[in-house]
């Protein structure tokens, strides 16, 4: 550790880190565009200039992102010369930057907007027109590039060079015609393109899926964990008007995903926005129709079924949290059977960066609890062999296959804790469950790290947490057994 002085305060800094990192870690705000803590510094935007005095030399203006911390440095970020230098850089960056903020999706979380507001001047002095470039250049299926807004910080270029190690973008052309482009205008490839929109300090690279969808200050941000693979990346779920999931973004977590996440997890929110679901519960009546009822009535019906047809096959979804798994195990113990969860086979999305290829976000947590991981075929076999069965958790029907459930004998009594109504003839009781953005709990990732999931929006009023409904069913079974 090296001792340096930043704005009159003596601090200890890591000599391997650039000076800007020491400033940020100690609460001194230094603007940055080309610097990103997860990428190699290049010092191309010059916006992070600060005044540095080393030894007997007179103070000099230096870029904080390319200057390593050295013993005895005296740094002044607010020196008039440094401020003037930053201001002039900003004026050059804004020279060709369109006044697009009302249209731009980045407005509200844009570094250029923030620093222009904090340090820039109110009016431009330039009399020449701004450059005209392509405003809608498609870079593949995920990203669209607005060349006019680009300030050529090259963060996106370095993202592919440093993080995915498969360079795809470059700065082409010269001078004021410089743009970001791919080789021969080929579309971008890979599972990590969505990160470009996060990495871009301005609104040049935007997600096609989020384009013009919402203003960022209207989005409610909730910390959660991604459930698309067993890596369990830390994410922020962003909700519009307490209802619709509009965007999922990675959240910095040094142990798991750093600043990044894959596109599979990023764009997996459409199923949270589906309107169709069981609100409350549904039971099959004498005519064979599924009729909506209250949750308590449905649980009582389920307990009656289990009394007549004991030892059900219990099959859970791999999206169950540890807490829900625990309650499910208690229920299984009370019913005198073993519980298992469906573990789909690994998919081909695995890579050496983040995606593990295992679609079960909580495989480790559930296995450690004592639930067995079984394949869909084995699960169907178990269900078909018994007289009754309990399906638990979101997406369990999807994993087993809706047709496979249709083929089950109608004499079987199926109790389903699911999100969508199960129309298979064997279904007797359906009880609604909250989705991953409506409940709280923990997933244990592949390395044993705890990933908390948080309720980003309230569940519909009649949808009770799975822990509560499962515990209620367990209690009903016991109450029926007690007098006997």
């Amino acid at each position: 550790m090296t001792k340096i002085i930043i704005d009159g305060v003596e601090i200890e800094a890591d000599p391997k880190q650039p000076l800007i990192r020491a400033c940020h870690d100690n609460g001194v705000d230094v603007p940055m565009y080309c610097y990103h803590p997860g990428l190699s510094p290049v010092g191309s935007c010059r916006i992070c200039q600060v005044e540095v005095k080393q030894g007997e030399m007179p103070p000099r203006i230096m870029v904080a992102c390319k200057t390593p911390v050295a013993e005895g440095m005296i740094v002044d970020t607010r020196a008039p010369k440094a401020h003037a230098a930053r201001r002039e850089c900003l004026e050059f960056l804004l020279k060709n930057h369109p006044l697009d903020c009302p249209i731009c999706d980045k407005a509200g979380e844009c570094d250029l907007q923030d620093f222009a507001f904090a340090e820039g001047q109110g009016e431009g002095r330039s009399v020449e027109p701004r450059r005209k470039l392509d405003k809608r250049k498609s870079l593949g299926d995920v990203i669209v590039l607005d060349e006019e807004r680009c300030i050529l910080c090259s963060r996106c270029v370095r993202f592919f060079e440093d993080v995915t190690k498969k360079p795809q973008l470059t700065v082409s052309e010269l001078g004021s015609r410089s743009t970001i482009s791919t080789f021969m205008d080929r579309p971008l490839q890979g599972n990590y393109q969505g990160n470009l929109a996060d990495v871009c300090p301005v609104g040049a690279l935007t997600l096609k899926k989020f384009r013009f969808q919402a203003r960022v200050w209207n989005l409610e941000k909730h910390f959660s964990t991604c459930g698309e693979c067993s890596r369990g990346c830390s994410i922020t779920v962003e909700i519009l008007r307490r209802r619709e999931v509009k965007r999922i973004r990675p959240r910095y977590n040094p142990d798991v995903n750093k600043w990044w996440m894959c596109d599979v997890g990023r764009f997996a929110f459409d199923r949270f926005n589906e309107e169709e679901r069981i609100e409350g519960a549904a039971v099959r009546d004498a005519q064979g129709r599924l009729v909506e009822t209250g949750v308590s009535d449905a649980l009582a019906k389920a307990a009656d079924i289990l009394k007549v047809h004991p030892s059900p096959a219990i099959v859970a979804s791999p999206w169950l949290t540890v807490e829900e798994g625990e309650v499910l195990l208690a229920l299984a113990e009370r019913a005198g059977v073993a519980a298992a969860f469906v573990a789909p086979p690994p998919n081909d999305l695995a890579d050496d960066l983040l995606h593990t290829g295992d679609p079960c976000p909580n495989r480790r947590g559930l296995v450690e609890l004592g639930l067995a991981a079984i394949s869909a075929e084995e699960a169907l076999e178990r269900i078909g062999a018994g007289k009754s069965a309990i399906l638990v958790g979101e997406r369990v029907v999807e994993l087993l296959g809706e047709e496979a459930l249709e083929d089950l004998p109608a004499a079987l009594r199926l109790i389903a804790f699911v999100r969508h109504p199960v129309h298979a003839p064997a279904t007797n009781v359906c009880i609604g469950v909250p989705t991953a953005v409506e409940r709280t709990g923990t997933w244990i990732n592949v390395d044993g790290g705890r990933g908390p999931i948080a309720a980003a929006r309230p569940a519909p009023p009649n949808v009770r947490p799975l822990t509560s409904t499962l515990a209620a069913l367990a209690e009903l079974i016991q109450r029926q057994e007690a007098p006997a």
Binding site: C101, I103, A107, E123, F212, A214, R215, W217
Partner: protein, 173 residues
């Protein structure tokens, strides 16, 4: 004890006839004076460009909305009366509102939306009347709010004039 002694009225006062005649004289004179009442609603209220009526959206000469659904009026609105959803268009200005709702029952006609708008898209019109048979009908959607630019031109000119005065008095450079 406090006793009020009434004045004894004279015969002339007890007759009341002279007083009635005097009142009729007043009425007769008022007939020939200029009228100061207004036959509302047949006769509308006088409005000027300073009148801050209900907000309306500008439709430009080429038929496109001036609004780009930036959401600043939504953010500025102290009564939370405005709800906006944007969508992409093929025009040069890439964004337009898909949904622009003003709940007129919530609107307090403060004019913050007009002040916040960076695109000269929302202006306080001279439309003041607000009556309907249901609450739902008073949640105005984009079709009810659209007005051609010419209809709002008087107010637009006024706002520009006021802004010019602000700028010249607060300018530092």
């Amino acid at each position: 004890m406090f006793v009020v002694k009434r004045k004894e009225l004279s015969l002339r006062e007890r007759l009341f006839l002279p007083e009635i005649a005097r009142a009729l004289g007043h009425s007769l004179r008022a007939i020939f004076k200029p009228k100061i009442t207004r036959q509302y609603p047949e006769e509308g209220l006088p409005t000027t460009e300073v009148t801050r009526g209900q907000p309306r959206l500008v439709v430009k000469e080429d038929g496109a909305m001036a609004c780009v659904s930036c959401g600043l009026c939504e953010a500025a609105c102290p009564a939370y009366a405005i709800t906006i959803d944007g969508q992409e268009t093929d025009r040069f200005i890439e964004r337009e509102p898909e949904r622009f709702d003003i709940d007129m029952l919530r609107c307090i006609l403060c004019g913050f939306c007009e002040e916040a708008c960076p695109k000269d898209a929302i202006f306080m019109s001279d439309e003041l009347e607000l009556a309907d048979y249901s609450r739902e009908a008073l949640k105005y959607d984009i079709e009810k709010l659209k007005r051609p630019k010419a209809a709002l031109q008087k107010r637009i000119d006024y706002v520009y004039r006021i802004n010019e005065r602000w700028r010249s008095s607060s300018s530092t450079s």
